[in-house]
């Protein structure tokens, strides 16, 4: 079992077993793939090059809709905001996921406060995607999944995913405890 993250004089340190590293890297890369902009046949290559988006539809995948939420209850405002920010938001998230995956190559994992923040964002995005796949929409749903903590006892894909979700939640909590200590106290 992993030891979680701890704040030390060297930085925020995490120790992982090899299978945990592989699991986290797989999750980071899966979410990264989910965030790849959908290629559109009708898009002008020049528009793609300069990052101009004429019209960006709301994602149909509920997980993606949670990662890239509507910014306003007014559909017109939300569409305009999405057109202007969708690409940079995807890129920002993908960059954090890649950096976090790379950080896991070291043993132990040592993070600066900035790297730790990227790692926290990535773990959070993984949890948002898993929660969407597990249909965690309410506190009751969250409680239903909270009991799944043993990989050995998971006997369906859904249960396995639930254990993964709880592992990532536990890991993020340990990271937040360490990261909160880096902020000026007041």
């Amino acid at each position: 079992m992993a030891h979680g993250f701890k704040r030390t004089r060297k930085g925020i340190v995490g120790r992982f077993e090899a299978p945990e590293v592989r699991l986290l890297q797989k999750l980071f890369s899966d979410v990264g793939e989910t965030l790849e902009p959908e290629p559109r046949a009708d898009q002008d290559p020049l528009e793609t090059l300069v990052g101009w988006d004429e019209d960006v539809p709301e994602p149909t995948d509920p997980a993606l809709r949670r990662l890239l939420p509507a910014a306003s209850s007014d559909p017109q405002e939300a569409a305009e905001f999405r057109r202007l920010t969708d690409r940079s938001l995807r890129e920002r998230k993908t960059a954090a996921l890649r950096a976090s995956s790379l950080a896991l190559e070291s043993e132990p994992v040592v993070l600066t406060a900035e790297q730790a923040q990227d790692f926290a964002r990535s773990l959070n995005d993984v949890r948002l995607v898993l929660a969407s796949r597990l249909r965690i929409d309410s506190t009751q749903d969250a409680e239903r999944v909270a009991g799944l903590t043993d990989f050995g006892k998971a006997d369906s894909v859904e249960e396995y995913m639930g254990v993964v979700y709880n592992f990532v939640s536990w890991l993020q909590e340990s990271l937040m405890t360490a990261l909160l200590k880096t902020l000026p106290s007041r």
Partner: protein, 100 residues
């Protein structure tokens, strides 16, 4: 080679855009059963620079009331904050102050 237009293209601003400058906008964070309380407190502290007590109060407001106004300012500021909060994975929207 090409020539620039002789006269400056006319940019007409809609009247409402001018008056909208004076109307404050709220940034609202919505509750969801996924984001950890510790993470939400961290985001409010790290992004807005709020003291721990204020960050906790806002987080609990989101948790208990389903939503909380975490910032009030110009439309431009509100949009910037919403975009940043989406980067953190928080479910945030902006709205005209007094709308809800």
């Amino acid at each position: 080679m090409s020539a620039a237009p002789v006269e400056s293209p006319e940019l007409t601003l809609a009247d409402e855009a001018v008056t909208a400058m004076n109307v404050p906008w709220n940034v609202v964070v919505w509750d969801d059963p996924v984001n950890l309380m510790s993470y939400v407190v961290y985001v409010f502290r790290a992004h807005f620079g709020y003291p721990d007590a204020k960050a906790r109060t806002l987080m609990l407001e989101v948790h208990h009331n389903g939503r909380s106004i975490v910032f009030t300012g110009s439309l431009e500021e509100a949009e910037t904050h919403v975009s940043a909060l989406h980067g953190y994975g928080l479910w945030a929207t902006y709205e005209k102050a007094g709308e809800n």
